[in-house]
Amino acid sequence: MPSKDFDKLRDFLPLSLRRNAFAQGVLCLLPVMKSEPLQPKESEPNSTGALIRLVADLLENGDYGQRVLEVDSDNVRILEMNGALSATVPIAEIHNARNEPVVGGGRLEITTKNGEKLALISYTHTIAARFSEAARGIEQLAKGEELLVNLKPQKTHCEKCKRLLPEVDGVCPACVDRGKTLLRIARFMLPYKYWAIALASLAFLTTVLNLVPPILQGRLIDEVLQKHTNLPLLFQLILIWVAIALTSSLINITRDRIVAKLAGSIAADLRATVYRAIEFLQLTYFDKKQVGAIASRVTTDTDRVWGFLVEGVPYFLLNGLMLIGVAAFLFWTNWFLALCILAPIPVIITIAVRFWKPMTQMFYKVGQKWARFYIHLNESLNGIRVVKAFAKEDSEFDKFTRRNMELREAGVKADSRWFTIFGGMIFFSSLGTIICWLVGGAMVVRKELTLGEFYRIHAYLALIYGPIQWFAAVNNWFSRAMAGADRIFEIIDMEKEAYLHDNGLKLDIKGEVTFEDVRFGYDKSNPVLRDINFVAKPGEMIGLVGKSGAGKSTTINLIARFYEPDSGSIKIDGVDYREIELQHLRRQIGIVLQEPFLFNGTVAENIAYGKSDATMEEIVEAARAANAHNFIMMKPDGYDQMVGERGAKLSGGERQRVSIARAILHDPRILILDEATSSVDVETEKQIQEAIGRLVAGRTTFAIAHRLSTLRNADRLIVLDRGKIVEVGTHEELMEKKGVFHKLVETQSEIQEIIGFDLGQAEAAK
């Protein structure tokens, strides 16, 4: 886009927005694949031919403001918003470019061919990922490669209301189509539509029946009580009354039973839908959210929605009808009196509208305090052993007391406020009754109204003020249900793992794994793995070594496709693994995770997790192979021993061995062992090692171990350092090379000598 338009667009936005809209890189340009030679002039920096154009949100002095990164086929330039050019680096001189992550954001760093390092431009986290991508683009240009970056414009503000969006490219919660959401949740009622119709009809009937007794009572007063005669009419009217009471009770019972059925079914359906959607979410989602927050979507959010669906929607119509109906009836009976007694209603509505918002805010705050209180409670109970060990009961109690007091204050404040407002509303409602007596009473005295009519009007008053209060509350109820529904649909609509592509290949894999130029970062602006290239042949055992944090676990996370590479590709048997059906792929991969997770259940169930039809013999065989059999047999219930929540009743080493057995029974083509034997003693490890040695035959295995001697059997070792492959070779080759691996081994044996365990000796003793 020529920058004139850029400026025009900028002027077009409201002032308050300009800063942010631009600061957050809303406007940027897509590659215009044209490269004409440029004569950059300071006065006219916006020449055409920009391949990349990104707006940063920090000025050189660190203030918020905009600067532009412009890259064309010859130069990288930094421009100020007034058009001044502050830096130019010719592409030809660039050695590499990268996003240097710093606290709170990042900066673009370019290293020139003569070794100079230039910090070109800084920006906050909001756009760091895009600058990281731009850095890659600059590198591609510098290497004379084709420019392949993904810099499509981001949407950070709602197009309609200009509000900041909670998530980039997300939906604006203020502008989502309520009607659409409502329709969508209403769809959950479809399977039960007959029940819902029955519910509505019955509710309608109850309402109509509720209207009858006042009529009867009115007649009773006028025609029997006041006239002191006509007992047969009394009996007749009472009989009708009894019949109506009986019918309406029956109807109520039926209605409530339908409500129970509908509520239960819809709640279950909603929970199942949400859970199913969560199951298939990508792991990146789970990295960002706390488990508690995810769980609450299954419970709280679905509760709000079904509550509203079942108890809100049917009454919405009814209460509306009732309000109109009764009001009409009142006016028809006596319009003047009706007008008088309905006078306080506008006041009540005003109070409701005026105070709901601050009230919800206060309740929201109480919710926050509860959460804080609960987090502390939860944590100190979970850590009770540590609390006791450090004799910290008193200081924990102090913390508890503080949270508790905060909660008390917020609660008292909100409740007091609520009762005040509510009291006010009650007063104005009762004002209706008082007016009714005042005006109605006077009319009765003046014989403008019979006593029976007065009584009827008085009785209907309650039928008016009830729905009014319901409507005052429903707005809040409705918005909360809609917020819940939005959160539910957010999950349902979120991008899923590619599980459900049934057009994926169902490849029975041999086990060749190829990494081609793989780059990956949990946070896209900060790659954890870079330029990873290797081929693991079928049946080969690859050892992954490197310092803590080098990216070993990340590599295997990619193999299992828990995450997908940001760029480059991973191939299995020569096929890009994104084309293979995901569940089919994972069924052929067995993993022992660094932190083994066991489910609450028996040992046998845990081992058979990946193969639920395994026979007991197979389970025992797998346990033997993992060297777990003996310890399992020593448990009182053997294979039926419960392992406790997360396997807490087993020791760390026992848990590891059970999870190895689980992977073995799974019988995978690709076996992944991430520190699978880190918590067992050397002797046990050796036994497991031998067992694994037998097992890995014919399977491609990736093993990670800190005890480097563990990887002696590996066919090849891949040494990672800060996300890059630095060495590849067999144990001997790498030892001879005296490089990074050699150094790792050296330091390790030194440490082991210090702690009195010499690997060499142990080996020799054997």
């Binding site: 660190g62 606290v103 230039l118 969006l165 998530e167 959210k289 705050k365």
Partner: protein
């Protein structure tokens, strides 16, 4: 090799944008990176100088113990490395649809941001010390609630 002390080191940018440290003019460490040990709880104290391998070369108890020239150089580097913001004033704050929308004035100027699920993203570091993390993981720190003006405090009190 002489151990680096605040007195015997010299910090300078050489080549441009690369921080270098010489100790007693005997040897130098290239690519030094200053890092606060505890920027939130103990701001301005304990500054680690790390080398390019991520190992600490020295730990300064206070930047003020350096001479003025070194201080300036370090400050320049710190300004680049810490792009966090401290809230001076809250212009507006409102809860809507489960998200909170904030407009604040920081030492860097005015900024709008959205915080989702406050229980996770409004972190209390002390009784009156608060940090907001917006949806992009930008941090906005309120070091001491009591030092804010009453209006700003009211915004926070009404929400948290």
């Amino acid at each position: 090799m002489t151990t680096p002390t605040p007195e015997n080191i010299r910090l300078f940018h050489e080549p441009r944008d690369v921080l270098r440290m010489t100790v007693n003019d005997e040897y130098s460490v290239v690519q030094v990176e200053p890092r606060w040990a505890a920027p939130l709880s103990h701001p301005g104290q304990l500054l680690g100088l790390m080398n390019s391998k991520g190992e600490e070369v020295m730990l300064l108890p206070k930047v003020a113990s350096l001479n003025v020239q070194n201080q300036e150089v370090i400050q320049r580097e710190l300004d680049r490395r810490y792009l966090t913001s401290t809230v001076h004033k809250i212009v507006s704050a409102k809860v809507e649809f489960g998200a909170t929308y904030w407009t604040v004035i920081t030492e860097r100027g005015q900024r709008d941001f959205v915080v989702q699920s406050l229980q996770e993203n409004a972190q209390w570091l002390g009784e009156r010390h608060l940090v907001f993390v917006d949806i992009d993981h930008n941090r906005f720190e309120v070091p001491d609630l009591d030092k804010l003006d009453p209006q700003s405090r009211k915004f926070i009190d009404s929400i948290l």
